[in-house]
């Protein structure tokens, strides 16, 4: 068994209590045991929100929705951190990384967001590959020519930023609304994600998740990491033609 700095803990699924989400029908208020109010969003609300944003903001609705997801996520993870810290009787961030992942997956499943999983990218350890199975928004929206899981994108960016203590961003690389099996995301330092996003958008057809990972591994980054360049070059947006992706 690998030596871990963080001692192993086991406390079960925090949310799998019979009355974790309890609604008082006389007041129409649903609360968790810690007193937090929970609202259940019907799909009609989410579609209405999307319709209204598209109508009012046009193409920039995507930025707005992602920003909302991010803002929400930064509060949500803080709250979860407090609750889990109280639950485990030790700072949540000091738990083993694998356990943190299982807890987050439990949280996603309990709230109906789908099945979350993530791993560190092997070739570029500052990046994380995340995926959500049965994600809600793509299931609601149906077909689209761009990824639609924007709230989750923002949410994941906020969660990872909080847990790692740096500004991270998230790029959705695959979406069920575009034919993929599940929503897949790349999460990494914000400036690198911005570059990758620009590169990704400039390519037709849009690169797959694996191709984005390859591009992330190939592109030069902070001088402290001595990674060698491959034959793939890094093209900046607006200045050079889109990269011919070599699979």
């Amino acid at each position: 068994m690998p030596e871990s700095a963080s001692p192993f803990r086991l406390k079960g699924n925090y949310f799998a209590e019979p009355y974790h989400f309890r609604t008082d029908v006389t007041t129409g208020v649903c609360r968790t045991p810690t007193g937090v109010r929970i609202c259940t969003l019907p799909p009609d609300f989410l579609l209405g929100l999307r319709d209204a944003l598209i109508y009012e903001c046009g193409k920039s609705y995507r930025t707005v929705l992602k920003a909302a997801g991010r803002r929400w996520g930064s509060q949500w993870i803080k709250r979860l951190d407090r609750e889990w810290t109280a639950y485990y009787q030790q700072p949540f961030r000091e738990l083993p990384a694998g356990l943190i992942r299982v807890c987050l997956a439990d949280a996603f499943a309990a709230h109906g967001y789908g099945k979350l999983d993530y791993t560190r990218a092997e070739e570029s350890p500052e990046f994380w590959s995340a995926e959500i199975g049965d994600s809600l928004f793509p299931a609601l929206v149906g077909e689209s020519d761009r990824p639609v899981d924007l709230l989750m994108s923002g949410l994941l960016a906020a969660i990872f930023s909080y847990l790692h203590g740096l500004t991270m961003d998230c790029l959705q690389t695959e979406c069920p609304s575009m034919g993929a099996e599940r929503s897949r995301f790349l999460i990494g330092p914000a400036p690198r994600i911005a570059e990758l996003e620009a590169w990704w958008e400039a390519n037709t057809p849009l690169p797959s998740h694996e191709q984005v990972l390859q591009q992330a591994a190939a592109t030069p980054h902070a001088p402290t990491n001595g990674q060698t360049h491959t034959h793939q070059e890094h093209h900046l947006p607006h200045s050079q033609p889109p990269l011919e992706v070599v699979s």
Binding site: M1, E3, F8, R9, K11, G12, N13, A16, V102
Partner: protein, 160 residues
């Protein structure tokens, strides 16, 4: 969170009479409630001393295994509450959703050998053996076997 079999029966019956099957299930459950309650009370009573005893015993038997911290021993003893609840409701799904699924995923995610946790539960069982009566063990056994099986049959699909 899922509904237990009893909640399901009550909600689906609603405007009709219970059928024979449902009646039989409920009657057999009700006759075993006193024993189940006894188990819950006994486990609650034993909890504080079990934690100390478990930690001590694990350190004695497996001194090289740094996994067995005092906190983990306490976690494992506290897991008996979920076992107790599943036994009280006579619904193993409660144990699965609250404990087993999470445990398997956590062990895989943290690269911990499930056999080590199985060994810890085996020690716990020995400590409990002396405290609980045979009739109480009979109601506890299905849940305990479920727990054991989940650890010893290996991890299926290490991703969760």
């Amino acid at each position: 969170m899922i509904n237990t079999w009893l909640t399901e029966i009550i909600h689906t019956a609603n405007e009709r009479l219970f059928n024979d099957e449902e009646l039989a299930r409920m009657l057999s459950y009700y006759s075993s409630v006193p024993t189940r309650l006894k188990l819950v009370e006994e486990l609650e009573r034993q909890e504080p001393s079990l934690t100390r005893a478990l930690h001590k015993e694990l350190q004695r038997r497996y001194p090289q295994r740094t996994l067995y911290t005092r906190r983990l021993a306490q976690d494992l003893v506290e897991s008996l509450r979920y076992v107790a609840r599943a036994v009280l409701a006579d619904d193993l799904r409660l144990l699965r959703y609250r404990w087993i699924d999470h445990m398997r995923a956590a062990l895989a995610a943290c690269d911990v050998d499930p056999q080590w946790i199985a060994d810890a539960y085996a020690v716990l069982r020995e400590l409990l053996q002396r405290q609980l009566t045979r009739s109480v063990w009979e109601v506890l056994d299905p849940a305990w076997s479920e727990l054991d099986d989940s650890l010893t049959r290996g991890l299926v699909a290490a991703t969760r």
